[in-house]
Symmetry: C2
């Protein structure tokens, strides 16, 4: 009944695809989680409703990404993390020591994206970008 619901249905239909409970559940889970791996999405869905198969999660995340409703980034050397595309485009900072993840707006990158476009004829996909590094003074939880 929400606007998201209607939006998802129409986006799917425009591509000749169908609205299923699984697809609604998975999109809702991604929304709630913020940044989550397919595995975490699966666990979240199962917690809020009936069981869904892992392969359905993979296939659905792929569909949702093609529709532009979610995006993924690589916030670790392991599994990718998906997030919903409700907010503005942003990229991520990841601290290798404390694991802190910060979202940063595209403005910060402007000088770089401009130069890459002019000098390398290259258009940056800002939303997929993950910048690894370390906090100057970090909580030092991990590593």
């Amino acid at each position: 009944m929400s606007h998201e619901h209607v939006d998802l249905r129409s986006r799917l239909r425009d591509s000749g695809l169908r609205l299923t409970p699984q697809r609604e559940l998975i999109l809702a889970a991604v929304d709630r989680l913020g940044h989550a791996t397919p595995d975490e999405v699966l666990a979240e869905v199962r917690q809020h409703s009936s069981a869904v198969n892992a392969s359905t999660v993979y296939r659905t995340l792929e569909v949702l990404e093609e529709l532009g409703l979610v995006r993924h980034a690589h916030l670790s050397d392991r599994a990718p993390t998906y997030h919903s595309v409700t907010d503005h485009e942003h990229f991520h900072l990841v601290c290798r020591n404390c694991g802190r993840i910060v979202s940063v707006g595209p403005d910060m990158l402007q000088p770089v994206t401009d130069r890459l476009r002019d000098e390398q004829a290259f258009v940056v996909d800002v939303g997929h970008l993950t910048v690894f590094g370390t906090c100057v003074e970090c909580p030092g939880e991990q590593a």
Copy 2:
């Protein structure tokens, strides 16, 4: 007999590790290949000499990275790629359409790394950075 050889041996010894033919072969393969996945490194080593085990490749790349002789970046959503650290630090541009990979010096990022340090107290690991996007006019091999 090369300087690399001596350098590798001494670096290993400084950490209480040993120089083995496998470690020389794997480092040499990474040097020749430029950017290569563990799998590609394995194939290259086998082509130039006797068989080496896959697990040895993984273990050796890990050791070489700890010693600072190689680095890895994620140039695809699949396996990581390793490159030797002979040249200056650089980051990578990857075109999703044609697969082109371009190495870019750290200067390009200066404005961003400066701002992230000042505004987010975050020090960027430039060498690990991979920037995905598309060439303005690309050969259009893949996708």
